[in-house]
């Protein structure tokens, strides 16, 4: 006898269609599993056998063959237990074939017959939606995550027996409802108003966010670089629905999704430690998994202690930063992870962190060597560099008005909207992404501006590579004000964000 069920397998961050077939017949008692399966899928055999037995289903001795098709797709993951178990039940005649028609089945089984959670639920459910299936059957723990897509019905169950009962009589069961998530009161977001002083740094952070410019902060330890970085996601516009789903898919596959809220609703903030490996950062592995950069998709990738990061690892960021995606190719497949991030970096000015103050005990040569650790090509992708001065006691006691995240966010949203309109038809293009001719087209200066820029180059010893970057940042500053033309004030501010280009660092 024969039975078949439908499921999906995660490839990259998408679900690929997989059909599970089971055939039961006479012969020596045997349980064969074929169809290019990985070890964890092959082990499903033992779990399914025990789960069936403990759910009260007797598999009479006979030859059992399970095939996962298509045969050229490597099957990985723990989500095949449930579809295999159900295919066998159909083959045994316990369930009718039509009971599973139109259902996408996902879940790991315990030996006792309980359904256990899997990663990548959202991708599975999206796959079901694209294939026009009528519903998904998921482990209870994943149901809420799957239910966020309102146009596919999702049912969550605790045990194999419950699934069986449901498939035999689906009438009594209500599909899982998408949770209307109200903000949990304890999950208070950090806010820029909590940082006292550092007005110029906050402003620079807002400018960087408004144009998605790479942002680098240089300052002594304890000056608030990390605090600032953590608050950048709060001034970016809220995630759109499409972006939420994109992010959630990645986090779902990586297993970092908060199962309670179901979707990633806040801009991600990822801060990999400087010992992060290449595949940890951009993704990889035998089974390609998203790296930190993809997990930060639509949000902020924060590299603290930039000079301590491995240079070769950092160099890998260059292409994904430009392409906003990374393709990881393996012998039998390749997958694409999106990597649209805002790059935020922080570093000390020297090894001890206090250069050029009197507390610094580095020689000038050591300072230079420290700075030379940073990959120059990566620095080329950082448009805004600011110095973060040490915080003094007086600053902490001051009770002045300070910019809050809300105020800054308003500026950023305005700039985003203007950019969206200006670069209409081009997805995810911001001022930071302009190149060559586009810079000249969109960032034109008047005579006064050109004169200021010329003076700045002569007087401040800026390098030529700073030119386009200054123009792009000036464009963003103008956009934040809603100004059509770049004024000298915009330009001057943009010039002030190029401190690393200046002779200051090299004597």
């Amino acid at each position: 006898m024969y039975g078949k069920t439908e499921t999906s397998c995660i490839v990259g961050i998408d679900g690929a269609r997989v059909i599970v077939e089971a055939d039961y017949g006479d012969g020596l008692p045997e349980f064969q599993m074929v169809g290019f399966v990985s070890t964890e899928v092959r082990e499903a055999r033992e779990r399914v056998r025990a789960a069936l037995k403990n759910s009260g289903i007797v598999v009479p001795p006979g030859r059992l063959t399970v095939n996962l098709s298509p045969a050229d797709l490597k099957k990985q993951g723990n989500s095949f237990d449930l579809p295999i178990a159900l295919a066998i039940m159909i083959a045994l005649g316990i369930l009718p074939q039509q009971a599973v028609e139109g259902y996408l089945l996902i879940g790991e089984l315990s030996l006792e017959g309980e359904l256990r959670s899997v990663n990548g639920t959202l991708s599975h459910v999206l796959a079901a939606k694209e294939r026009g299936m009528k519903a998904c059957v998921l482990p209870r723990a994943n149901a809420r995550e799957g239910a966020v897509l309102t146009d596919v019905r999702v049912y969550g169950f605790e045990t194999l027996r419950e699934v069986m009962a449901f498939l035999l009589d689906p009438s009594g069961k209500e599909p899982e409802k998408a949770e209307t998530v109200e903000e949990r009161p304890d999950a208070r977001e950090p806010d820029f108003s909590e940082i006292l002083g550092q007005e110029s740094v906050k402003r620079a952070a807002a400018v960087a966010s408004a144009g998605m410019h790479g942002f680098l902060m240089i300052g002594p330890p304890g000056s608030g670089k990390t605090l600032t970085a953590k608050r950048i996601p709060t001034i970016l516009p809220p995630l759109s629905e499409a972006e939420q789903i994109e992010c959630s898919k990645i986090h779902s596959v990586a297993g970092t999704l908060d199962r309670e809220s179901g979707l990633v609703r806040r801009r991600p903030f990822r801060s990999p430690h400087h010992t992060v490996s290449a595949s940890g950062l951009i993704g990889g592995g035998v089974i390609p998994r998203p790296g930190e950069m993809s997990l930060a998709h639509n949000g902020v990738l924060f590299l603290d202690e930039l000079a301590e990061h491995n240079r070769n690892t950092l160099d890998l960021l260059r292409n994904p930063l430009e392409d906003k995606k990374i393709t990881i190719a393996r012998a039998n497949s390749s997958c694409v992870f999106p990597t649209k991030v805002m790059l935020v970096c922080a570093m000390n000015p020297c090894k001890c962190g206090y250069y050029p103050g009197s507390r610094c005990h580095c020689s000038e040569r050591e300072v230079r060597r420290y700075l030379s650790h940073i990959s120059k090509p990566l620095l080329d992708r950082i448009d805004i560099t600011v110095e973060v001065p040490a915080v003094r006691m007086e600053d902490l006691e001051k009770k002045g008005k300070t910019a809050s995240s809300e105020e800054l966010r308003a500026l950023v949203i305005r700039a985003w909207e203007i950019q969206k309109a200006r670069y209409s038809g081009r997805k995810d293009v911001f001022n930071a992404h302009l190149e060559g001719a586009e810079v000249r087209k969109y960032c034109a200066l008047d005579a006064e501006g050109r004169e200021l820029l010329r003076q700045a180059f002569d007087g401040l010893g800026l390098s030529a590579r700073a030119h386009d970057r200054i123009l792009k940042v000036a464009r963003t500053i103008a956009d934040m004000e809603g100004a059509e033309r770049i004024s000298t004030a915009h330009l001057a501010e943009a010039v002030s964000y190029r401190s690393l280009d200046r002779k200051f660092w090299t004597g």
């Binding site: 240089i218 001065p389 007087g459 501010e493």
Partner: protein, 364 residues
């Protein structure tokens, strides 16, 4: 072989110190006659010379080695003057342990023109950097030859100051003149060796200076000049060795005062306490050198600043002032202030110093 060539070979040996070599040449009659001796005969000159030095001495009597040395100098454009040559710096000849000869690239300092050494700490503060640059520029602009050790810190900034007004400047190295030390000053080195002054050394080419060579070199710096300016020096620092040789050789020493408690200026203040001349403006030095400062428009015409820019300048000193402080003190909005700071910086009124700080440029 000429006398000059003989001296040159004797210095290539790099085993006799300056005074020892001078005494030996005198005892032998001339450098040529000294070079004609065998290593084993050197004791006849009344000095005990150990075997190692004798061996080096004998090795350098090889014509091939000598020719190779001359060829190398020619290839690299390295010149040599002995202390008996008229081109040899006159001032240097007056000191008791003047080197027998000098290797140089570029030019030698001119004899009839006043010269000043500007020395100080390698790890100088923003203040030291500023002052070194300022005095280097101001003295050079008035025709004083600025000579220094080309080290990091004060030395390099003083020389850059002189170069900033397009004047020649000289560096005295502890190693060979064909090697740029420190590597960070390679731009300066290239400038000096290509017609904007020169680098000098008593050590032969291709010799890398050892730590003990630097104090020995310092006597040449003070020997080459009329006055020595000390910008920033801690107590027990190398700069004070130069001050000692300068005083021994009757050079006037001008010392820039620092703040009490500043480690970088502790040596300077100590010198002032002991009676050194206090350096507060270039005119102090110029007057001593007999250069008239009368009738000169002292500074280039001050650039016209807006009233707001003047206000911002009021709140700035030679200590770093942060943007946050300026925001609070001036009351200008951040955008306005940022624009003004950039414009003031372009005008050369202020510059960045330290993390997130600005200082007023010193204009005498």
């Amino acid at each position: 072989m000429t006398e000059r060539e003989a001296c040159c070979i004797l210095q290539h040996m790099n085993v006799f110190d300056a005074r020892e070599l001078a005494v030996m040449i005198e005892a032998a009659g001339s450098a040529e006659e000294l070079l004609a001796l065998e290593g084993g005969e050197l004791y006849k000159l009344g000095r005990t010379i150990d075997f190692e030095k004798q061996a080096v001495f004998d090795a350098w009597k090889d014509h091939h080695l000598q020719e190779a040395a001359f060829r190398y100098m020619e290839e690299k454009g390295i010149g040599y003057v002995s202390c008996w040559d008229p081109e040899y710096p006159v001032r240097l000849n007056t000191i008791t342990d003047a080197p027998v000869g000098l290797f140089y690239r570029g030019m030698l300092p001119e004899n009839g023109v006043p010269a000043a050494a500007i020395i100080g700490a390698r790890r100088c503060t923003a203040y030291g950097k500023e002052m070194a640059h300022f005095f280097g520029a101001e003295l050079a602009r008035r025709g004083v030859q600025v000579i220094s050790g080309m080290a990091l810190g004060v030395d390099g900034y003083a020389m850059r100051g002189a170069r900033s007004v397009d004047r020649d400047t000289w560096g005295v190295l502890a190693g060979g003149v064909d090697l740029c030390y420190p590597m960070e000053n390679v731009g300066l080195y290239r400038d000096l060796t290509q017609g904007s002054g020169g680098v000098l050394s008593e050590r032969p080419p291709q010799y890398t200076g050892r730590p003990y060579d630097f104090p020995i070199r310092n006597r040449i710096i003070s020997g080459l000049v009329d006055v020595v300016l000390v910008i920033e020096a801690a107590v027990h620092s190398g700069s004070l060795i130069t001050v000692n040789t300068a005083l021994r050789d009757q050079r006037e020493v001008f010392v820039l005062p620092g703040r009490v408690g500043d480690h970088a200026s502790s040596g300077c203040n100590e010198l002032i306490k002991n009676g050194a001349q206090v350096l507060t403006c270039p005119e102090d030095v110029l007057q001593y050198l007999g250069i008239s400062v009368q009738g000169e428009t002292q500074h280039p015409v001050k650039k016209v600043l807006t009233a707001e820019q003047e206000v911002v300048l009021q709140f700035m000193g030679t200590d770093g002032t942060s943007v946050d402080d300026l925001l609070e003190q001036t009351g200008f909005p951040l955008g306005v202030l940022t624009e003004m700071l950039v414009q003031l910086e372009i005008l050369g009124e202020i510059r960045r110093a330290g993390i997130g700080g600005y200082v007023k440029n010193y204009r005498g």
